[in-house]
């Protein structure tokens, strides 16, 4: 009986998540495009729904809601479905839509889509070889094989995003890094841009007029061939077309310059808006947060280095450690069991919400930046794939943040994976990503004022 009730609850929540994913797709991602392929929308919403259900199950685990057998059952079910979607459905549709965009392969769309899928599976399988993620006693078709590979990809993604985010966040929030941009800078750049456009226009007018005159005089654009043609070409003025190609080269160079000027002007406008924003109350609040986050970022980099250098794996989670410290050192007595449950619920809840929100915002920004009406379907599916893998690996890694009694179900469901490996791998990639982001941002920051000096 209780199993039925639990299943109904789970199902309702899944439908809710599905609806939320659908709305997000329509309102945020695709608000400037027309949805023509409903398959894409359904696949995206399904991936989102099942990923969120996993988080929901963790929360239920901590709260002790629903009976433990039904929780275990739903965990397994959810995991199978999500692996099915991530490994079979989404890559197949990505291949299908990529193939539909290519003209030549229109005939045998399905065949080529299957070929793409097989290539994906091959590389996906090969991914597992260099990593010591499995003990050899697992069979080839076991669920652990699939999860381990999905986990590796997802953890890499998470670490890359975290590393970049940890560095970028203080850089964007703090107004210390804002370059000083005045209105006159922007006006000067805009004037240069318009001057360049005028120069392009006048050169193109010359080309158009010359071509028209050549056409009216009956002169051929193509060089004349044959013996008499060669004699003729020596005597008559072919300087018309030579001039043209020279002017055309100048026009190409000017067009490249105009593009660069345009991008620089956009950059300056964005900086000016940020400066204005930083003077508002919200801006000041974010500035303060930025200082806080920069300390957090330095702390995380430090911890990652320590973990790698000393080959240390955290045995206890932050909640239990915190409680231990307060009880032992500060002498405050309180009911450990009761508080650990609530605190870990809050902590895990915050982690889940911020990671979902952060991921959705990043995906939206990424989508706006690179999609066009042709490639929007493919990009959304790729984003759905990334989102699914990201969420699966965050469940994997979250195991470390939970007290022992709640970890058991994650360990049970996901099978015998080498969890320590994943944490080590996360630390390594996080470190690499954070350091390269620092380098990258430093170079970009240094380069920008020099560009303006040259104006």
């Amino acid at each position: 009986m209780s199993f039925l009730v639990d299943s109904v609850i789970m199902f309702t929540s899944q439908v809710l998540f599905f609806g939320f994913g659908w709305l997000f797709f329509m309102r945020q991602l695709f608000k400037d495009y027309e949805v023509r392929q409903y398959v894409v929308q359904v696949v995206f919403s399904v991936t989102f729904a099942f990923s969120c259900t996993m988080f929901e199950l963790i929360i239920f685990e901590i709260l002790g809601a629903l009976s433990s057998t039904s929780r275990y059952f739903h965990w397994k079910l959810n995991l199978y479905v999500i692996l099915l979607v991530l490994i079979f459905v989404v890559p197949f549709y990505i291949g299908y839509f990529v193939v539909s965009n290519i003209r030549l392969l229109q005939r045998q769309k399905l065949l080529f889509a299957c070929m793409v899928w097989f290539t994906f599976m091959y590389f996906f399988w090969k991914l597992g070889d260099p990593f010591p993620i499995l003990s050899p006693k697992h069979g080839i078709l076991s669920i652990e094989q699939l999860i381990s590979r999905v986990g590796v990809i997802g953890v890499t993604l998470m670490a890359l995003l975290s590393g970049f985010g940890a560095v970028n966040c203080p850089y964007t929030y703090m107004s210390y890094f804002l370059r000083n941009v005045t209105d006159s800078d922007i006006l000067a750049l805009e004037r240069r841009l318009l001057q360049t456009m005028d120069m392009i226009v006048s050169k193109k007018k010359r080309i158009a007029m010359t071509r028209r005159q050549m056409y009216q005089r009956g002169e051929d654009q193509n060089k004349q061939t044959g013996f008499w043609g060669m004699i003729k070409s020596v005597t008559s003025t072919q300087t018309g077309s030579e001039n043209l190609s020279l002017i055309q080269q100048e026009v190409d160079a000017l067009e490249e310059l105009s593009r660069q000027l345009f991008l620089e002007t956009v950059d300056l406008q964005a900086t000016k808006e940020r400066i204005e924003y930083s003077k508002t109350f919200q801006g000041k609040y974010f500035n303060f947060l930025g200082y806080f986050f920069s300390i957090y970022c330095v702390w995380k980099i430090f911890m990652a280095t320590i973990n790698i250098v000393f080959d240390r794996v955290g045995k206890t989670d932050p909640v239990t450690r915190g409680i231990e410290i307060t009880v032992n050192y500060l002498g405050i007595q309180f009911d450990v069991k009761f508080w650990s449950q609530h605190i870990s619920f809050i902590l895990v809840g915050i982690i889940i919400v911020t990671s979902i929100r952060g991921l959705l915002i990043t995906l939206t920004k990424f989508f706006y930046a690179i999609s066009s009406s042709k490639s929007s379907n493919v990009i959304v599916l790729v984003l759905a794939q990334i989102m699914g893998m990201y969420f699966v690996s965050s469940v994997l890694l979250m195991r470390m943040s939970m007290p022992l009694e709640y970890r058991s179900i994650v360990t049970e469901v996901l099978g015998e994976l080498q969890f320590n490996f994943y944490h080590r791998w996360f630390d390594v990639i996080f470190l690499v990503s954070a350091l390269s982001s620092i380098l990258f941002l430093y170079l970009a920051h240094k380069q920008a004022p020099e560009k303006h000096m040259a104006l």
């Binding site: 608000k31 400037d32 495009y33 027309e34 805009e190 841009l193 318009l194 456009m197 392009i200 226009v201 006048s202 193109k204 007018k205 010359r206 080309i207 158009a208 007029m209 028209r212 067009e255 105009s258 593009r259 000027l261 345009f262 991008l263 002007t265 956009v266 950059d267 406008q269 964005a270 000016k272 808006e273 706006y368 066009s372 009406s373 042709k374």
Partner: protein, 207 residues
């Protein structure tokens, strides 16, 4: 060259509807084989004989300013684009007939271009909503071009044409629907007409 008058025409529309191909077609009389994203603005020029064969014949340079980007771009991109909207003589609005959103976005495009173009005494619509009244008194001629007509299946064509007829009514614009650029022919289909034009597009020849 300087003695010829200049006419500046903006070509606006969502990304991927075919503005760069259209501009290339009008100016070079050639089909553009390899279109890629337009960053910023690209200009092309066509020499046009106005009222050819009559005593009032005059040769103009028509500058077609093809502005890239989407209507939902960041405000920094929008304010940078605004420098191109000065002293405009005409606007060509391009939309993709297979994509309804691109037609709806044309309202926002025209608001963006015309608000920058308004005279100091003109009223600037600040809520960003489409105001039909503005287009009635609009002194800038509009031309609406629909692309990729041949990619619509036969049975849907009349429905699409009715929809675009309403659109051109709203804008008080003249309308042309074009077939795919890769074919050597372009079949012109003119529907709707307004006589508030300072130069005529009917004299464009396609090879």
């Amino acid at each position: 060259m300087a003695s010829l008058d200049r006419v500046k025409v903006l070509v606006l529309g969502d990304s991927g509807v075919g503005k760069s191909s259209l501009v290339h077609l009008i100016c070079q009389n050639q089909v553009f084989g390899n279109p890629s994203w337009t960053v910023g603005c690209s200009v092309d020029v066509r020499v046009q004989d106005y009222k050819e064969g009559t005593p009032e014949e005059k040769t103009f340079y028509i500058e077609l300013w093809d502005i890239g980007g989407s209507v939902g771009s960041a405000s920094s991109v929008k304010s940078t684009r605004a420098v191109f909207y000065n002293s405009v003589n005409g606007i060509i609005l391009v939309h993709d007939l297979t994509n309804k959103k691109s037609s709806q976005n044309l309202y926002r495009w025209s608001m963006e271009a015309l608000n920058k173009d308004s005279s100091p005494t003109g009223v600037i619509v600040s809520n960003g909503e489409y105001d039909r009244e503005q287009f009635v008194e609009n002194a800038v001629p509009l031309l609406l071009i629909g692309t990729k007509f041949d990619q619509i299946p036969e049975n849907k064509r009349s429905e699409v044409l009715t929809r675009t007829a309403f659109l051109s009514e709203d804008f008080n614009a003249e309308e042309i629907n074009l077939c795919e650029m890769n074919f050597p022919f372009i079949s012109l289909q003119m529907t709707g007409f307004t006589d508030r034009k300072r130069f005529s597009f009917k004299s464009l020849h396609y090879d």
